[in-house]
């Protein structure tokens, strides 16, 4: 996955290390070999994406794809989504919500806030792996600005 000839970095914000590992395994199996930067909480992830001063200038010439879990220990995923989509430097970054929550209102809210894809983590592993593989397909066709 490349953008303007540069490798796209996948930012994975996922508090559950097991989930993170499973996602990584399946992303790799789908043939995506981009760098994955994992975060287990929202605070440090936001710091990485927007910079310490939260201005977003650090991401001005970075090519990121964000994988976001909604249920984080320190802040809600929608809050992170809001921060990313409100920032002029990061608002065009594709954000994929990957979470266990299947509440219809929550899904709607995420799309309202500007999420690009919303995927519910299925409990059965086949479904899970399948979803990630399809995400890999998605990654291979997606254009990152």
């Amino acid at each position: 996955m490349k953008a303007n000839g540069r490798e796209v970095t996948i930012v994975m914000i996922e508090d559950d290390e097991g989930h993170a590992r499973l996602i990584e395994k399946n992303v790799r199996r789908a043939g995506v070999h981009n760098e994955i930067v994992p975060f287990t909480n929202g605070t440090s992830a936001l710091e990485y994406i927007l910079g310490k001063d939260m201005s977003g200038t650090v991401s001005a010439d970075r090519y990121l794809l964000i994988l976001l879990d909604l249920n984080l220990p320190d802040m809600s995923g929608t809050e992170i989504l809001q921060h990313i989509k409100e920032n002029p430097f990061t608002k065009r970054l594709p954000v994929v919500i990957l979470t266990t929550t299947d509440d219809a209102r929550e899904i709607q809210r995420c799309y309202d806030l500007g999420a690009n894809v919303y995927i519910t983590k299925p409990v059965d592993y086949e479904g899970f792996a399948n979803a990630i593989r399809q995400l890999g397909l998605f990654f291979s066709v997606i254009e990152v600005p």
Binding site: G18, L22, T43, S76, Y125
Partner: protein, 496 residues
């Protein structure tokens, strides 16, 4: 509201007595008026009789005067009054008889009177006749003889008797009339007073009744309002409880599902690794590619232990979550034991139990609260304060020495227990989140499950209280536990 039965009975009796009095007054007035009328009639009749008697006698006197004058002068002019009187006498007699017979009781004696008058008239007629025939001497002799004079005296006596009796009767009736009118006047005044009393009593009773009705209505309205308010309060409680349960269920299902995804996922991964291993182990002499050997090595060395590790940690995480849910649920069902507590002592004990940690970080605790008694559950209060102090130590600011201040303020039937720190504070968006189960706020640089404050909140609510927080990020936080001073009242209203 009960209606005052004796009051109603008494007022009815009073009204009835008043009415009876009024009726009797009116009846006696009617009787008295009738009596007065009778007396008056009697008086009139008596006067008629008297004047008839007087008239008759004066006619008789007129006749005698005329007779005497004629005998003296022989002037026929004197005969005129004589003759007039004689002709009127019969009429006057009838009048007297009628008047006397109209009188109901006392009988005037007229039987002899009329015959005496007859004799007198005859005597006068005789003398006048004799004189007219020219024998004046004989006529004068008859007069001077004195028989006529005697007759006249007797008649006068009789008349006098009648008139005197009449006078007595008139006098009696007048005094009777007077006394009857006096009584009538008295009765009328009494009736007036009775009417006033009855009317006043009636008005008083009506006013009191209306007053009590108004009072009852007002009380009813007040009760209604209170009831509505209580219903509203309860409804709010129910709505809040329902929302909490939904939120709780949502959190629990999500948090329980997360490790489940891991277990299922790594079980599948394990399955995949077993395939890699079995391709090597169960080859039974068949040729094995270099890649298969590497895969098998990788599976045994890395993938399988990793999968097992995640399965194990996920299982224990699930166990931890279930235990945490159980703990909170058990706290909700624990029988609260209200007892007399001194908040200052509890706070001092809680601080003493964590003193070594406070000393380690060079902190300081100020017990600003004065002596304050509570009647509440000791264990709940202790656990809440211990949790709050523990959080204050855990989330202290790295830039300055920890300072904790514990205070308590009484507000009527409630007491605010405040635990204030100068720690790292909480962002405004996270103020509600910190109380949610399995949620934590700010940098995740401390170990924790996200249970402490959820537990504190459920404890506070079980006591009929609430936990609140205000905070300035980077400056410090203040947790305020508001709880009733008397838990028994809360328990009573909950069981009601």
């Amino acid at each position: 509201m009960t209606i005052n039965r004796p009051f109603v009975r008494n007022s009815l009796i009073m009204l009835f007595c008043g009415s009876a009095l009024l009726v009797s007054v009116v009846l006696s007035a009617i009787v008295l008026i009738a009596q007065t009328q009778a007396t008056f009639n009697r008086l009139v009749a008596e006067r008629v009789a008297r004047s008839a008697a007087v008239d008759l006698f004066s006619l008789l006197q007129d006749a005698e005067t005329g007779q005497r004058g004629y005998l003296l002068t022989l002037d026929p002019a004197f005969l005129k009054p004589y003759e007039d009187a004689v002709t009127q006498i019969a009429q006057a007699e009838t009048k007297l008889t009628n008047a006397i017979s109209a009188l109901p009781s006392h009988e005037h004696d007229t039987s002899q009177l009329f015959s005496l008058i007859e004799q007198k008239l005859k005597e006068m007629e005789a003398t006048v006749d004799v004189a007219q025939k020219g024998d004046l001497q004989a006529a004068r002799r008859t007069v001077s003889d004195g028989a006529g004079q005697d007759l006249m005296t007797t008649i006068r006596d009789k008349m006098q008797t009648i008139i005197r009796a009449s006078d007595v009767a008139i006098k009696n009736n007048v005094s009777k009339y007077d006394s009857t009118s006096g009584r009538l006047q008295f009765i009328i005044i009494a009736a007036f007073i009775a009417i006033l009393v009855v009317l006043g009593g009636a008005i008083y009773i009506i006013m009191r009744h209306v007053g009590s009705l108004t009072q009852a209505r007002r009380e009813l309205m007040k009760l209604n309002e209170e009831l509505e308010m209580r219903v509203q309060e309860r409804t709010q409680d129910v709505v809040r409880a329902n929302q909490e349960i939904q939120r709780y269920a949502y959190i629990v299902t999500h948090d329980l599902r997360a490790p489940l995804v891991n277990i299922m996922g790594f079980a599948s991964e394990l399955d995949r690794s077993i395939k890699d291993v079995s391709a090597y182990v169960l080859a039974d002499g068949a040729p094995i590619s270099q890649q298969q050997v590497l895969d098998a090595r990788m599976a045994v060395e890395q993938d399988m232990p990793e999968a097992l590790g995640f399965i194990r940690s996920s299982t224990s995480r699930m166990d931890g979550l279930i235990n945490a849910i159980l703990k909170i649920s058990r706290d909700g069902r624990r029988q609260l034991k209200p007892e007399s507590l001194e908040i200052k002592d509890i706070a001092a004990n809680v601080v003493a139990s964590q003193q070594h940690r406070i000393d380690e970080v060079g902190g300081e605790v100020e017990l600003a609260l004065s002596s304050l008694k509570l009647f509440s559950d000791r264990m709940s209060i202790e656990q809440i304060l211990a949790n709050l102090v523990d959080n204050a130590i855990k989330y202290r600011s790295a830039d300055r020495a920890l300072r904790i201040r514990i205070d308590a303020v009484r507000r009527g039937r409630l007491v605010d227990i405040i635990v204030e720190d100068n720690g790292r504070g909480i962002e405004e968006d996270d103020l509600e989140r910190v109380f949610e189960l399995f949620r934590r706020a700010g940098p995740q640089d401390q170990r924790g499950e996200g249970i402490g404050l959820a537990h504190v909140r459920s404890l506070a609510r079980n006591l009929g209280g609430e936990i609140d927080v205000r905070s300035v990020p980077g400056k410090g936080s203040a947790f305020i536990l508001t709880t009733p001073t008397d838990l028994t009242q809360v328990l009573r209203s909950m069981s009601a």
